[in-house]
């Protein structure tokens, strides 16, 4: 057995880990894998070209950008902020659970750029969570404040990661489709994206209850 083609995998892993440009890494890995499997260089370039061409539908998703960009021009982000600000008045736990749900639902509907760390967490969610926690539990230590802010950022990530794949026209879903199709297993985007729902529910339950437990812990620490 010729094990050399596995070097391609090593190139991907090392190249990403060492922070080379990912496109360069991927193409080098593809060329190395093909050549080490005994194909000549031209044949590998042809195979890569054919595979790239066959998977064009993955990059079709960007045609949504003019719609999102236009809505942003008219204040979509600002509107999303107003919705988040409307969650004020609740406890830190309730606020972050509500934001988790909001982030999961909007991402599942294809609006994954509503929210995010520079746009929503830093200016809104983190300060609101901090204020809510101080209102319920009194003055927080610096370490506790950092934990509250970190939890706000964590909530944004969890909501995005485990909401976005429910939207079918997203790169990760189409990448899965492409990889399986090249291996001879044709699937549809919706077949894949419905299977993101069980994990999304688990993510909401697990992270939601951790947020509430964290809020209770902050209260107990002060009694």
């Amino acid at each position: 057995m010729n094990y050399w083609p596995l070097l391609g995998i090593a190139i991907v892993v090392l190249g990403f880990a060492l922070r080379f440009n990912p496109l360069l890494v991927v193409v080098s890995a593809a060329l190395a894998t093909g050549v080490l499997a005994g194909l000549d260089l031209v044949a590998v370039i042809e195979a890569l070209g054919k595979a790239f061409n066959d998977n064009r539908y993955i990059s079709v998703t960007w045609i949504i950008l003019p719609v999102i960009g236009l809505l942003e021009r008219y204040g979509l982000q600002q509107r999303a902020r107003a919705v988040i600000e409307g969650m004020r008045g609740a406890t830190m736990g309730k606020l972050l659970v509500a934001y988790l749900l909001f982030r999961q639902l909007t991402a599942a509907l294809g609006m994954k750029d509503i929210g995010g760390h520079p746009q929503a967490v830093r200016p809104l969610v983190a300060p609101m969570a901090e204020a809510a926690a101080q209102k319920t539990h009194g003055e927080l230590s610096e370490g506790e404040r950092d934990k509250v802010k970190a939890m706000a950022a964590a909530t944004d990530n969890v909501g995005l990661f485990f909401g976005e794949d429910i939207f079918f026209a997203i790169a990760s879903i189409l990448l899965i489709q492409g990889v399986f199709e090249s291996a001879g297993y044709p699937l549809t985007p919706l077949q894949l994206s419905v299977w993101a729902i069980p994990t999304a529910i688990c993510a909401f339950l697990i992270h939601g209850s951790r947020i509430l437990a964290f809020d209770r812990r902050l209260g107990r620490a002060r009694r």
Binding site: P5, V13, F16, A51, N53, N55, V67, Y74, R79, P198
Partner: protein, 316 residues
């Protein structure tokens, strides 16, 4: 019959416009990169594999050597946006909702009514084609409602596209890598090795190794997308699907999500974990990761269970 070619013409036109606007702004690297991508969409089906391959190499060369830059097309100012958002209110969400609604409702309508007999859409392609239609409808609705300058959607779209940059074609490139892996027989090689390591016939153990590999490779590479073709070629397809007859949709979709659990636990995914710690001025650079581990580990275990139950127990 409506095929992907229609969609590719639409995408080719969009990237072509973005290329021309980049040219107008004298962003030569951007203009060349988006022009090549437009060419791939418009003529990719009519040229040889070699030409397509050279096109890929040219795009990678431009991106790999820093040819792409952020653009700064004119748009509304932050204060203007605030007053506009107050004027239009929550209705601003509606045009964005048209897209998933058209695609999902359209797919259901097409598949569960006699409409399917018409064969209007290429088989299994209807959802993405309807997504394209949804985008066009949303764009027309937003244009008629908001009455922006004619070029506004192209310019504001380019602002977003250039903030994504070369990463816009990374998923497509990774899928192509998966195809090259398949051609080179990577799956058979690893399948052979893994078959010796994992006790024969242990479906659960194989699921565990697959999900663990997705999470660990993601943590090392900082990117679940990159881990996916590797683990799919190594274990997902040759062992779980081919040998044990699992449901490919569950293995693919939930395998990726197992990788996302890895993303929550690694400083390599800097944009999600390290940048926010800096933005929030946390003392501990890994503060966000520390708050995520408690969610990521049980959620990873849930994914293992979902694959085992969904792809095997319920499927067979």
């Amino acid at each position: 019959m409506i095929t992907y070619e229609w969609l590719y013409a639409l995408a080719g036109a969009a990237f072509g416009v973005w290329s021309l606007l980049s040219l107008h702004d004298r962003l030569w690297g951007n203009a060349a990169f988006w022009a090549l991508l437009a060419a791939s969409f418009l003529i990719g089906s009519h040229v040889s594999d070699l030409v397509n391959g050279l096109l890929v190499l040219a795009m990678v060369a431009i991106a790999g050597f820093g040819g792409l830059r952020r653009s700064n097309p004119s748009t509304t100012l932050a204060e203007e946006r605030l007053s506009l958002s107050e004027r239009f209110g929550n209705r601003l969400f509606f045009p964005a909702l048209i897209v998933p609604l058209t695609a999902v409702a359209g797919t259901l309508l097409y598949n569960y009514t006699p409409f399917r007999e018409t064969g209007l859409f290429e088989a299994r392609r209807e959802t993405l084609i309807l997504f394209g239609l949804g985008v066009l409808v949303a764009l027309v609705v937003a244009m008629l409602w908001l009455r922006p300058p004619l070029l506004a959607p192209a310019q504001d779209g380019r602002r977003l596209l250039d903030s994504i940059g070369w990463a816009a074609i990374l998923p497509q490139m990774l899928a192509a890598l998966g195809a090259v892996f398949a051609l080179a027989g990577v799956g058979e090689i690893i399948g052979g090795v893994a078959g010796d390591v994992i006790p024969k016939g242990s479906v659960f153990l194989t699921v565990l190794v697959f999900a663990l590999g997705m999470a660990l490779f993601t943590m090392i590479m900082g990117n679940a997308f990159a881990a996916f073709p590797v683990m799919a070629a190594a274990i997902g397809i040759p062992l779980l699907v081919q040998q044990y007859g699992g449901n490919p949709a569950v293995i693919g979709a939930v395998g990726m999500l197992a990788g996302f659990c890895g993303t929550l636990m690694t400083p390599m995914a800097a944009n999600f974990n390290i940048v926010p710690a800096a933005l929030l001025e946390l003392k501990d650079q890994n503060g966000v990761i520390r708050q995520q581990i408690g969610t990521a580990l049980p959620l990873w275990a849930c994914n293992v269970a979902i694959i085992y139950v969904g792809a095997f127990l319920l499927w067979n």
